[in-house]
Symmetry: C2
Subunit: 808 residues, 2 copies
């Protein structure tokens, strides 16, 4: 339904003060975009007051400020705890203006005080080198969301709401963002938010009709269609639209009041009567002109209400006296002299409109990560596998992790602050033990009379978040983390690329946020990539892609970590570490299928702490009698290095083959489980010292390296190490189909036989028996390939084509 001028309750409220507050925000927005001096227009506007380069987005700003002012009103009336998420984050000057008006900005950045000098700095710093960025970002108090790359506002808001029962997240969505896929997916939130335990998301879909240079789809649709869209997803929307500010104030205030009442009602109802279906959460559709209150016509072209108001509505103001005059008239239309006193301070009757203390949205505690309660990680001993003798136990590597996560769910039942997010793959990822502690979360009711065993652990009370959208899984988790809770996103390796751009943006956020002292650390974004390229033999080529490693490799070492635990116990240790860590993007790559297990928990802890170690039991060097580094020891003939579970298996087999066939050859096996030990320390803080690097990989010897990801990606890590071309890397080489696991390593030339052949090519000395071993390997590879390519045609029966040549 549309709430227009006709319905005017709260009829008796006087919106003049609120309107002036909005004017103050608009004024400061324009001032930030244009001025470097004369911030209050205490003298006539001159060209030298204007910044030399005009940057900023005006079009969305009045809408953001309008919403902010009305939320302030709501907070003052209800004392509700509200978080503000600005989807149109390019409206940075509007949000900064509001944060400044309520005093938080000056508290956090004392140089930008509530006086003339502070105002001057406020306007000068905006979008100015050495100043502040043009978008909402980590430096903006109260924000958990950048809004640079559009699409994620509503999922961040939804994640922030989970397990935050008191909180209301007001999420502004622009009509540009509303065209993105991730945002469209986010409308499903009511199916996943439980009003009895989660906070409320109040979406405010702000349709001003235009993007940077064209109309928007939703902006041109009828109110009925837009409302129907939201209704279909479970929301209970109301439309507020208009061009007369006072009528809009009334309608928006009413919509806010009613939305708030409805939220509390739904929550109370849920607590009293239980949760049986999605709650019809209120949502507001706000239609106001783009660039509202800005210039109407400039140079004969309409500006207000059109795409032309998107950025800077008046260009070349320094050079164009007419534009300068228009700007001055525009700014004076807000009557700054009535908004600020002569010292530059907001007049008291307006300052009184802001909420107080921590109720100010810009001072929200949850937005600063300051409220993080650590997870207590249960003792790993109870999940660890008994691995002796090494490699003999074959076990699904991720299954013990599932048990650990189960117990974290149990341990946090009274103070819920951990969730697992997974695109419908929790069982497939062998993490199904969590369902002993909780369910999949879904509020949509099952059909009547359905077989009681037709579903497996699905309820509105569940805290495992499964939805077939990597965007939603990751976006919800990001919102959950940025408000101080903990979690894990588990996904197919190839399809983690779907949300790679989010991973990059989150890393950028963390990189800047950790430079801000007033922001506390937040739990890390933990991405577990199971079902890896090597073991999507059954699903085929589209499911085989280790690209996320490459995407993360390039980001700042201050915030990125990449772990490749070779077995279950190292995975447990890794999980413990990443769940305790703060402010990182942790990528953990490990396959879910049954794999040989190698290390005891104690060994796993040592190995994880080192990041990479010599596995002396897998080689045949003389024991030195001392722990690493193996200083003083003679170099082996060849170093076989590996990172990742499948590469480790093939490397161990290659090492065995070499030793079995060529006992005089001295072989060393190095396992790397922290990829970031490989680059030099000036590239990444985990980089090994030159001494330790040499102790593992020798000073100048040949290294045959089997690597989980794209082979070439490893070379960028090794740059800066001495003579990096001595590393002969085998890895995923973009070859694949539906085939056997072993054929995958053959197709990509990373099989044990390929590694042996490469090693023998690189060994500098003559070794008795080497030629025979070469023949042996070639014969095995040929037999394999013949078998794979021909058996289904010519052999009488397809034999066990899951065949993997285990060690003899």
């Amino acid at each position: 339904m549309e709430r227009g001028p006709a319905e005017t309750e709260p009829a008796n409220e006087d919106f003049e003060l609120l309107h002036r507050y909005w004017s103050a925000a608009n004024y400061l927005t324009v001032a930030q975009i244009y001025l470097q001096e004369n911030p209050l227009l205490t003298e006539p506007l001159l060209p030298r007051h204007i910044k030399p380069r005009l940057l900023g987005h005006w079009g969305t700003s009045p809408g953001l400020s309008l919403i902010y002012a009305h939320l302030n009103r709501l907070i003052r009336r209800t004392s509700a705890e509200v978080l503000f998420v600005a989807g149109p984050g390019h409206g940075g000057p509007a949000v900064v203006a509001n944060v400044y008006l309520e005093g938080t900005y000056s508290e956090i950045y004392p140089k930008v005080g509530t006086d003339l000098q502070g105002l001057r700095r406020l306007v000068r710093q905006f979008s100015t080198p050495g100043g502040i960025a043009s978008h909402v970002g980590p430096a903006t108090p109260g924000s958990i969301h950048e809004g640079g790359e559009l699409g994620y506002s509503l999922m961040h808001a939804t994640g922030a709401a989970m397990d935050n029962p008191g909180l209301i997240i007001a999420c502004v969505i622009g009509d540009g963002e509303a065209e993105t896929g991730p945002l469209e997916a986010s409308w499903k939130a009511p199916s996943f938010l439980n009003p009895a335990r989660d906070g409320a998301v109040l979406p405010i879909l702000h349709l001003n009709g235009h993007k940077i240079s064209g109309p928007t789809v939703l902006g041109r649709k009828s109110n009925e269609d837009v409302e129907a869209l939201l209704k279909a997803h479970g929301w209970d929307p109301v439309t507020v639209s208009g061009e007369d500010p006072y009528l809009v104030h009334r309608a928006l205030a009413t919509a806010m009041d009613e939305s708030y009442g409805r939220i509390r009602e739904l929550q109370a109802q849920a607590l009293a009567q239980g949760v049986h279906r999605p709650a019809p959460w209120p949502a507001i559709i706000l239609r106001t002109p783009k660039g509202w209150t800005g210039p109407g016509i400039v140079d004969g072209l309409p500006i207000e209400g059109t795409y032309r108001s998107h950025q800077v509505p008046l260009a070349n103001v320094r050079e164009n006296p007419e534009h300068l005059a228009q700007l001055e008239a525009w700014m004076r239309s807000y009557r700054p002299e009535t908004l600020f006193d002569s010292t530059g301070r907001l007049v008291p009757e307006l300052a009184a409109l802001a909420p107080e203390g921590s109720l100010r949205m810009s001072a929200s505690g949850v937005s600063r990560g300051g409220t993080v309660t650590a997870l207590e990680i249960p003792d790993l001993e109870q999940y660890a596998l008994a691995t002796a003798p090494r490699g003999s136990m074959v076990h699904e590597t991720t299954r013990p992790l599932g048990e650990l996560l189960r117990d974290i769910y149990f341990a946090t039942a009274d103070n819920p602050r951990f969730r697992l997010f997974c695109p419908d793959e929790t069982n497939s990822n062998r993490l199904g033990a969590v369902f002993e502690a909780t369910d999949r979360c879904l509020l949509e009711p099952a059909g009547e009379g359905e077989h009681p065993l037709a579903e497996d652990h699905v309820s509105p009370e569940g805290r495992v978040m499964e939805v077939l959208s990597e965007h939603l899984c990751q976006g919800w988790l990001e919102g959950y983390l940025l408000t101080g809770r903990h979690g894990l996103f588990a996904s197919y390796e190839a399809f983690a690329m779907v949300s790679a751009s989010m991973t990059i943006q989150h890393a950028k956020w963390l990189q800047h946020a950790r430079e801000l002292e007033w922001r506390g650390p937040v739990p890390s974004l933990n991405i577990l990539l199971t079902s890896t390229c090597w073991r999507n033999d059954h699903n085929g080529f589209s499911h085989q892609g280790p690209g996320l490693i490459d995407a993360v490799l390039s980001l700042s070492g201050t915030v990125t970590r990449i772990y490749l635990p070779p077995d279950a116990n190292t995975l447990l240790v890794t999980a413990e570490h990443v769940l305790r860590s703060r402010d990182y993007v942790n990528l953990v790559v490990v396959d879910k299928q049954p794999h040989p297990q190698y290390l005891t928990l104690e060994e796993a802890r040592r190995h994880a702490a080192a990041g990479a170690s010599i596995w002396s039991w897998a080689g045949n060097e003389e024991p030195t009698g001392q722990e690493e580094p193996h200083a003083g020891r003679a170099d082996p003939d060849v170093v076989l290095a590996c990172a990742g579970d499948i590469p480790t298996e093939e490397t161990l087999a290659a090492a065995w083959l070499l030793q079995e066939h060529l006992p005089e050859l001295v072989v060393r096996v190095v396992n790397v489980m922290d990829a970031m030990v490989l680059p030099p320390r000036n590239t990444h803080p985990h980089g090994l010292s030159d001494e330790k690097f040499k102790a593992l990989f020798t000073a100048d010897g040949e290294v045959i390296m089997a690597w989980h990801g794209y082979a070439r990606a490893l070379h960028q890590l090794l740059h800066g190490r001495p003579r990096p071309e001595r590393f002969h890397v085998r890895g995923y080489n973009e070859q694949g189909t539906t085939t056997t696991p072993f054929d995958m390593v053959v197709l990509n030339q990373m099989s044990r036989y390929h590694l042996v052949l490469e090693a023998l090519r690189r060994v500098h000395r003559q070794v008795v028996g080497a030629d025979e071993l070469v023949d042996f390997c070639r014969t095995r590879l040929e037999a394999h390939t013949r078998y794979i390519r021909e058996h289904f045609e010519d052999l009488p029966e397809i034999r066990d084509w899951a065949w993997t040549p285990h060690l003899p």
Copy 2:
């Protein structure tokens, strides 16, 4: 509205034959998943007939086959040209079964004939090493869509419909896929499909209620809500649901007939009356049980209609006699002896149900790229910039490209086969000249009484596709290309990462498709990255990311190309090349801002053909009197190499500084515009021969390289070249904010001064004046940094902070 059992027109039709055809498809689906022998159950089923590893997805398959059979019926009645897009591409065995039943499979793959031997091969090859993949893919006749990574079916269908007026694309969307963001975004198609000139997309949303292990959101929603969702986007949906096959046949046939009639009606109406608003295209919501006709209960658990039927409903069939018996009963329930004759051929009365010849969906010409009509590219001379003297003209590099694209639009007006796809950035990308030839496409009507100048080139007739979704832009383009047309996707560099996963999947498709002779080549996917990391100084850190280069680097060299034209004329030559090319993913990275221009068109052609050249005019080597390679010439003291526009600018400035200050130093400048000349030829077909590589970069000399992307990405390209560590690479290093363009290169240590300092560090001999130049550079950098960091605070006026130190 729901079309259920009550409405039973076409009441007089007998669906028995169609039902048997469906049974045949279901039978062959089960046979492919389970059997390696005895494909027609001519003898009792034995363990040795069963494959050793059971792979495949049964759950979605009966739905796919049902839809396929009903589309066949529609085609036979109407002779409509229909393309089939299987969103649930994991239902590979169902689609292969249908393609086989209508004979196309045997025509393309004669070894899989329409006899017993062919049937045996059909079932053996499925999901078997050396056989065929488990998903629909390039090897599946009729397909333009893999459906491995979910989310893109409806956008591919929509792109295929554009400028294909006769075509109907039947697009099956699974309820798993319906949870993804990209799919949700695709529902906007009616706002962009013009019934007077485009084909029709018929979405068939198949809700079977379950994913791999849990319920789906839409599957649990009411018919009303699902219909309301589609209606809100502009569709006119009808729901067909049921569990009784014959009732569903009737209802589905009616829905198909009515949908077809409605499509033709909408198209005729549009042609007669013009297009003023989105057409209410029909859409079908089909609700049938998951794993329909499969086992009901196995081991006491319900299978049919639940998530447990997603993959292989009966496990361990070889070992478990009860399961074996259940499988045999299941298979015999389809009565194979009535479907196939004793020679293995489909009985004639069923074979007669398939459409004939090229009307078979699996034989669709547009699905094979066989219908590509080349673009005629106008003579580039008319767009080329006059660049003399070199570097003196500063021009927006992408603007001449816009003029070229404009004329391609003009040239294809009579036979439309080119479109530009762009997330609302055509003007911002300086490609706005296209609007002289066409408009932005949007069917949503503008508001009444809107100012006539409020919009800029928006109409239902436009062929520039602007929507703020990289997913939609790229997905539509992919559908357009795979059906034989041409196009370009232009995007912000950072946000091209949003659809990076699609780029990877498309490259995988092309890599496999080009190995299939029966598939013709298709126009390349051209991705133009404007607004690059270096020149998002105004938008800030979130907009700065060259990661797509990394993503493409790792893919197969058979299908990937990366171009970094340094100026407008090289961009024109690049555009001509990529628009003519086939079967590639071409990444073209160039900034839209004003930049110095260097090469004449003739020089640009030579440079582009070489991929990398010595720019002798920028260095000070003695001329050799011969063209490259500069064999026999003495090595310079230092090689300055560069790739990308900004790196080129900084490198040229560095070369100038070195020569101006140190005239005795011999400097060479090498510009690389095809990144793939850098790796060895065995890595990429564009890789320079060793000889040419040495001629450019010397055999062993030091090279200072300024590179557009992440510095480390370059090292992976150089791996395999002699002594790669002699390349000292500067590039984007994940540093940025809102600042000046020049500060961006300083922050990332790629400025001219940094390059000079690096060069002087690497020069092997003493050079008079070097120390002074070092001081000069350091002083300039310090002054810059002081200026940037302090000026907005302490200086009386913000000066021209767009300041870039041009050459003196």
